[in-house]
Symmetry: D2
Subunit: 427 residues, 4 copies
């Protein structure tokens, strides 16, 4: 992808505007199969009601583009700036996160109307951007679209979690692409030479601030597994008493196991002497060949210990991924669930897509990291404590949103994202 700023300066807004329309439409398409009721619910503090997501991503354009750059822009409701501010403390007082599910109004229809209002204004702005701010506008629009794509993945995560609360086991969609019947590939090891490597984004095309600057890291020789750990592999860990053996676990993880009674990945259900998993397509028998998913970092780490291996660092992962084509089971495949992949003896498979892969790296700033200026500096930097890095995207990530330098991050106890693991070892 060319940097949109250049496309503006050379050929006007069309490319960016087209992308704007495309990304905006995708969000609404995600919510189309939902009932109005589904869009109101916040099933835990980390989850947001779908209609809140739809409004919040629009607020982002309002707050950071329309209000600063479109003269005469009028918001339909000044309090939206409070209700739909997620966490930008320097922009105002965000409405309390844990209470998003207590707000019935604006309802879905009003949120859709708010989106249309913002879209019209954005078309106006992008149709004739004030010259002196054109670059900044293009930069922010691109950020706003990347932001909306992140919320598209969050929507899938949150919808899955919301529907999972219901003992009726409703499906989000019943027409998803069926998983392939690929057998599990054998687990191979690919070897990588250590030394001084460069990781991080070089600034060509879009990247979040946290992926920069590109810098050197020294790595030892290492090996990486040819595919993610599968459900079948993970079942071996469970059967071997993995959830009952403290010596496999980080201390904080062991506390979680005991406090919450973890005994399998999130969304696994044991019914009538069989394992099932809740998917966006409804309750399905566990697919042993597919990558294991909805693990916390603690579970991923315990599994790696059990397997006599470890998690890769994010630098190792990136070094290996940088050589691979950016393809895989993304949202575009319409599985919305990790699936088994064909074997290939020559390179690691499924590095991109299927499941985010927990790394052993804490989410901390790269050397000489600079957050964005102003309120947008709150986008990433302030979350750089207590979280672990995941890499590679998943089956709910838009294909054109991911990069080999992309750093995702979650707290180590979180399980509702599409997260699995790939083993690493010393060479």
């Amino acid at each position: 992808m060319r940097h949109p700023v250049r496309e503006i300066s050379e050929s006007g807004t069309p490319a960016l505007l087209q992308r704007f329309r495309h990304v905006r439409a995708a969000s609404e398409a995600i919510c189309a199969p939902l009932s109005v009721e589904d869009q109101v619910i916040q099933s835990m503090p980390d989850v947001s009601p779908p209609k809140w997501h739809l409004a919040h991503v629009s607020w982002f354009f309002e707050a950071f583009l329309l209000k600063p750059f479109l003269p005469g822009y009028r918001t339909p409701e000044p309090l939206y700036d409070h209700l739909f501010n997620s966490y930008y403390e320097t922009h105002g007082t965000p409405f309390t996160r844990a209470r998003r599910g207590l707000i019935s109004r604006p309802g879905v229809a009003e949120v859709i109307a708010f989106r249309a209002h913002v879209d019209r204004a954005m078309e106006e702005l992008l149709g004739a951007p004030p010259e002196q701010h054109a670059e900044e506008i293009a930069r922010r629009v691109e950020l706003g679209l990347q932001h909306e794509q992140q919320h598209q993945e969050l929507l899938f995560m949150d919808i899955k979690h919301i529907l999972a609360q219901n003992p009726l086991h409703p499906a989000y969609r019943t027409d998803l692409a069926p998983p392939p019947t690929t057998p599990a590939a054998p687990l191979r090891w690919h070897e990588y030479a250590g030394g001084l490597h460069q990781i991080g984004h070089d600034g060509q095309g879009f990247a979040f601030d946290c992926e920069m600057p590109r810098h050197r890291e020294f790595l030892g020789d290492f090996r990486l597994a040819s595919r993610p750990v599968s459900n079948g592999d993970y079942l071996g860990f469970i059967i071997d008493g993995g959830y009952a053996r403290s010596e496999l676990w980080l201390s904080d993880g062991w506390n979680e196991v005991r406090q919450h009674g973890w005994h399998a990945p999130l969304y696994w259900l044991w019914e009538d002497d069989e394992w099932y998993e809740l998917t966006l397509g409804g309750l399905r028998p566990l697919d042993l060949n597919a990558p294991v998913c909805h693990l916390s970092f603690y579970e991923a780490d315990a599994y790696a210990n059990w397997a006599g291996a470890r998690l890769p660092t994010e630098a190792e992962w990136e070094v290996a991924a940088a050589k691979l084509p950016l393809q895989g089971n993304f949202v575009d495949s319409d599985h919305l669930q990790p699936v088994a992949a064909a074997d290939d003896p020559h390179a690691p498979q499924q590095m991109f897509g299927d499941v985010w892969e927990w790394t052993g790296s804490a989410y901390r700033p790269y050397p000489r990291f600079q957050p964005l200026p102003g309120s947008l500096g709150e986008y990433n930097g302030k979350f750089m404590s207590g979280q672990m890095v995941l890499r590679g995207g998943c089956c709910a990530t838009p294909r054109d949103h991911i990069r080999c330098t992309y750093r995702n991050f979650f707290y180590p106890a979180m399980r509702w994202q599409f997260a699995g693991l790939r083993l690493a070892k010393e060479a």
Copy 2:
């Protein structure tokens, strides 16, 4: 009101069926002004989503009438018996109360369809009740209708609480009957002679098990205030530092004051140097002449201490109320808010309607109390600890649901019900 059992034995079901249709329709009318989104939300564990109320009261007929008495009755969804069981542990495992707001499906339309399904079956049952169960059926139908009327009041309470979470201050309805401009009546004292009095229900017509049996209590002479405490009166308490003076408060109440920062009744808002109150008709300037409402027992008790008085016992209240006509500001007046009433030197005013009046009596069984047999025995008896009795109904109570023997009960810290107080004193 005649007892429906007799009307059945004399003239067939029409009277009961007519009442069935009337009460059932009223529930749906209450929810009609709501958006779908409004009906999903559980704003605190004590609140239920409106659509849950609509389903639960139908489940009551399904569980206690249709399944036992209508041969061939089929439920649209067996899991509803789990989802919509409120607290009948001997009937099955109720879905966790605090999670009612996490269930998007069945949605509002499906709930309405469930209601229609139950209504059709009930029409069938009531049209030709099996002879040998006719009395029991009539008894349970009446209980089911009284139960539904209780939930109608809960619906108003819960809708008010749900909308109150929203900084946009939405109104439930904008066409409510406007409050009268009656000036505040002076506070007079009515005197009652003590001695042996009978209280409790005598079994003629419907009453809940907890109102029975009628029995004797010895009372001293006492005086009762001619009207409930008004907002204006209560403002005097606030201005006098009522919320900061520990000596006025029960110890548990003082803890609540400090822990939650109570400084005014629930739904009072101080904005732009004025007191407002949230009502079902939206945000309004505080009506100083109307009865104060949305007080906890602790606040009512502290106010009474401050005023040099006390709360009446439930026996005192009933002795005084037994002589009065059962009229007042009920849901039928369509204010949905307590309002000021005209003065009358001859009798206490507003004993019925406007606000439930906290009494000084703990909710405990009357002597020789017998709960209903079977699961219906869980209706009242198991709640007889930790709660206080309130009397007289309120502006959200159906007129034909209340009696002078009616015992309502809430935990002393609860404030979302329409509760106020009337002062009592020794004679």
Copy 3:
């Protein structure tokens, strides 16, 4: 016991002073078998460290007698007025209750020195009380001594709870009077005629404000069991699934059962296929003939339901007890544990001593109740919500502290007091 005020006006202080010395010495004797370490611990927020009790009861004399009435009295440490104020909000700011166990200093020796300091000053005051305050002083001294006696019982409760946290099962004393080997008496029923009865204290001799005024209550005919429920009786409830049958329980009680995993009275331990109980004399095999003890109100109520009976009201209990001699297994018997008693077909046994008996009455003010003036008004009145009345004293109560009008009170979930139950029935 004569009221000390009169003894002052007739014969000077000696009687009161002698009682002062006697009661004060008893507190220290209770703590004598304890290690210094035992006296520091607060095993739950309701428990206070023994050294805190010793200091607090001295503070009571300092705050309410020495500072107001002994000219020139000097406290050894002004901050003691903060540290050892239990809950008198109008007297100052009490140190946070839940943090009493975090205060190592003053240590035991300093607390003993504080006691001696207070005792010396009290001797001075009582030796020559200022004429115009003599009555008030005598009244407050008596209150202070009754208060200290209450804390003596609390000391036993708290010591038992503190030592019970320890897997080593230490005994408080190993030289307690051994329990008799009396067989369990058969359970008989004694019948009482209803009608208008008087209950409450008549003002002759000491009583707490909450026992007054004496007043009339109307009772139906009733029966009372001849002895408290025994451990053997209670075992029948357990074996019959009492802790698993929701229909026997109050709703709040059932929540406690599930939340805390209650399955037997507090201090019962199932080890090596036998029931044991922790006592102040160490771990002992369960004595089936002794009254069951350390029950919450909820357990007492569930047991009564299971037994087809109910708890007596406090009025019923008092009417029955008023005719009985005030004797029983008190602290003076030095069992410090309820024990079996001999049978007597003519009157209920063990109404006094052994175990406090839960009644079905909420702790609320008697008609025309007046709390003491000033800060001492916080002694009882402010606790009159949410608690239930217990009657009769227990094996840790001083014999000269109890009366048939005595109202003890605890929250219904509390179990660390020596509480059991006696069944009642309609006649």
Copy 4:
């Protein structure tokens, strides 16, 4: 320091035994100024009662040396293996950490007797170690002594926290070495060249497993401040509204600030218009020239942001420290409080001692990290999530316990350790 294993093989046990006696005596000396009462208290879950520390470090020798290697060793009490096991899940079931302060017995005297019992047995073992286990014994003894030294520092931290709960502000000791009156040194910047550096322990002499293996890291050029941030510097941050400016804080840190009302470092008190700080020597006016102490990681990070700098990584810190003499204000100086140091233009000062310096590095395993075998593998490895690394030791660390490779670690919200910060910048 020579590795004790060698000294055993060459010259018998004396050197190790001498060190054993020395370290063991130091623990008891730390507790000598405490009252018995002080030694019982657990002021928060992270704190342990001093007598528990004294017992636990002895248990370590019992569990890992005496039971495996001294034939015929008998414990004075088998349950000590439960009570004094801190967190070794593979060794047995540790007594619940948060309940350590509820155990009065064994008391201080019994704990001292337990220590003597263990010491006697250790003298026996070290006097004639079985040949085939001599190396392993020496290794474990050294680990046990290092472990006990860690607990010596914990004792100071915990004693300070325990006494700080007391409004009487008791001092631990009143005879501490007085702080020097050195003026604050100017803040200079020392520059370091980047490139490939080696960090980690090389295996000569004792080190914890987490310090190994020595390995290469690539660093950019960087600058390090010449001294830690002082109280005076930090006051500038406070005065500039540091605790009220969200943009300076990590998101998790900002939550802590608001939730706990942080507005100054732990142990600072604002009284009579002056800042004071609680020290082990009692309450003192704030020493503006001394290093700021008792900061959380979040506060250290926010300060660095405010100052336009950042925290050093642990690799940067180690590269700089490796060149410096291991000297500073340790426990041996008997200040037990950070103090100002003299200026030196040629090298950073106070890298060792005074305050642990928060780094920007998460506590994660070094490449190819191997935990110790068996239960001792739980010593460090299982804590490698969620915590941040601190470097350099503090005024409560024994001088012979620290190294430039030493990795200390705490959760980012913790403040009761002696932790401050030193600024870093890009070169």
